[in-house]
Symmetry: none
Subunit: 219 residues, 4 copies
DNA sequence: CATGAATGAGCTTTCATTCAT
DNA sequence: CATGAATGAAAGCTCATTCAT
């Protein structure tokens, strides 16, 4: 006898089931982002997440190990989506300075589209080393590694000054942009985060000693 | 005739009492920094703080309103000490770019001297908007305002490019340095945060379009 | 189309749920009466109540706001039941003296049936002005108001002497009966409180200047 | 060698010391009455008592075993003073009905003179069986016994009806007066408790079947 | 004797997690 | 699979009592 249902009909049914499962998973994560953004991870109760997701408290535990895992999955999923969406765009140009400009733009655009998500990232991600252990380290690492490699290539290409070690430069660049996001999240004023992109790009590129470029296509 | 106990001996006794009180207050705050750094504010129990401070749980409540106040007082006291120590040094030079260089240096030196304190600042201060309300906002504000004014003066003096609004530039600069501290706090490697100063200064000054200055004596 | 789950089966299920909820609420209140009677409200711990009710500590907070509310609900519920049960009986006769006799009888019977409840009433209700505020005032008020109106009617009917203001007379009458209950609660001897009724009635009616009536059927 | 200081000077010094000791004891008890009346025994902190008495917290424990004992001593002392003051007055007449009238008057006068003390008596004495054990029982007992004996004598003298057992009558009488005091303590209105005496006497005497007496000089 | 800072046991309450339905 | 009532461990805080000064 088969273990696992492998008839055609079973497969179809399994597909539908999987889809519904994934949808509910998403709903729960969305609820978690909402609840965590509103009260902070620690203050938010699992029942707040459940209410925001429109499911029963217990249901959450059918999809996630515990409350901590909710936060970890939010981080991972967001990072995945960020790079899924951005990789082709960022690396669609050759020059490292242009890549960096696009990465900065994407960073601001991506988080600027979802303030709740940004709030969780800026506030709770910083707090997580104490209970998420390596998860939060991994999140930063990926971003810093990409940045570092980009800067290193720029230095090799001669578009960036090479008197700043790439790893450190990556932290400095990331921190600069990151603070822009934090300020936006904490601000009561209502402006579009994306509108900060030109200033941020100018700042970052200049910091690495890149020659100024005009943003649009030139003759 | 004197009202109250103001004889020489009484005054001496009161002085001694005040001193002991202050010492214990300090010990408790030091214990709090230790405990919060180790487990994070939320995970740390009041009894952890008490143990680290070498006092009974209840004693803490003779000196502080509640657990939250411990965190708020750590923030306030640190900021006070930072500026107390740094104001004369930072503003001991005229040129805004030199001032900025000194501020960056001070920032790294100050937090680099006490890793536990830095951990609390980098981790728990970010998390506090949700429960400390304006306290954490005030902390950031002071720093960002000083930076902004400094950058503005530099633009007026002509040492900084003026194509970046001072308020935004301040955030970017602060964020860059801040991330250096965060990385150091989270890192397992053991290096001196202060050693990052030259790289950080070069990065920051260049980002604002300042002409390179040699740090030491030149040929 | 129906909004909400109002199918016959759902309604039945909801009804069953409500019933179980009410039952558990009752069990908790009964446990509270037991625990409060045994140790007094202040000495009784919430966990004592939980144990007596056969539920977990936390369960109590699903049904009641806090410990204070337990006491308030005991008082309210008891008063409600007292008048629910007694109103028809007491006011089933016209003459104010007979009404008063019945009220005295009911008072003793009602509390005499449940010594624990009586203990809570005699001991903790007196202590509650300090933390239950108006709840305890309301409890007394109702009883004293009914008594006062009854006495006033009796004076108008000419069955009671009118040289004592009804409001004061009400207090005196209530206090007299009340002390009988208190003595019974504190007594180690085992007698039926109800057996005090004839003496109490004779005392109270005479105090108001009522002509003696024979209690039973006369020749 | 003598144990105990028995020289004349020593004795004088001891006398002075004892007096100061007694004075401080009194001050503490007065502070306790104030604090207990204000917040209720359980809510009042030992430090409230200390503050009201103008002594340090620890000093209280040089004069009293613990917080409970403060309450017990308040009760005992009050009872002692009541009878000290009242015995001659109450028993200065022969007729039991007159004695009873005087006792009622004294009861109202005595507590009416000190609302704080009355508050402690009416509220906390009722709550004390749970932690004062026999102390509170003793307090009531003395009063009820005197009343009972008085009523019994009245029945023998023929001034009281003998169809109510003296012990029960004593409870009823005591409760009636007691409730008058409670109402006064809990009332927000400002009237003199003593002014209730005529009504109370009329009520009580009539309840025992006493022939009316005119209170003042008759024609 | 008097002080009052310090103690720490003990309380109420919260909420992540479980599991019978 | 989904529910949500129930659980009970855990933690912040209070305050009666002690004891070094």
């Amino acid at each position: 006898m088969d273990i696992g249902s492998t008839s055609a009909r079973d497969a179809a049914r399994d597909g539908a089931r999987d889809r519904r499962r994934d949808e509910k998973r998403e709903r729960i994560l969305a609820g978690a982002i909402e609840a965590f953004a509103a009260h902070g991870f620690h203050r938010a109760r699992v029942s707040d997440v459940a209410k925001a997701a429109g499911v029963a408290d217990g249901t959450i535990y059918l999809y996630f190990e515990n409350k901590d895992e909710l936060l970890a999955r939010i981080f991972e999923q967001t990072l995945d989506r960020f790079w899924e969406r951005g990789e082709a765009y960022v690396y669609g140009v050759e020059a490292a300075d242009e890549q960096l400009g696009r990465l900065v733009e994407l960073h601001l655009k991506f988080l600027g589209e979802n303030r709740n998500l940004a709030a969780v990232f800026q506030v709770d991600l910083r707090h997580s080393p104490h209970f998420l252990g390596d998860v939060s380290r991994r999140i930063f690492r990926r971003h810093l590694d990409e940045l570092g490699a980009m800067i290193e290539r720029g230095q090799e290409q001669g578009v960036f000054a090479d008197d700043v070690p790439p790893a450190e430069a990556a932290k400095l660049v990331f921190g600069a942009i990151d603070q822009l996001v934090t300020s936006w999240v904490l601000s009561r004023r209502n402006y579009r985060l994306e509108s900060m992109a030109p200033v941020a790009q100018r700042f970052v590129l200049r910091s690495l000693g890149a020659e100024p470029r005009s943003d649009g296509p030139e003759s």
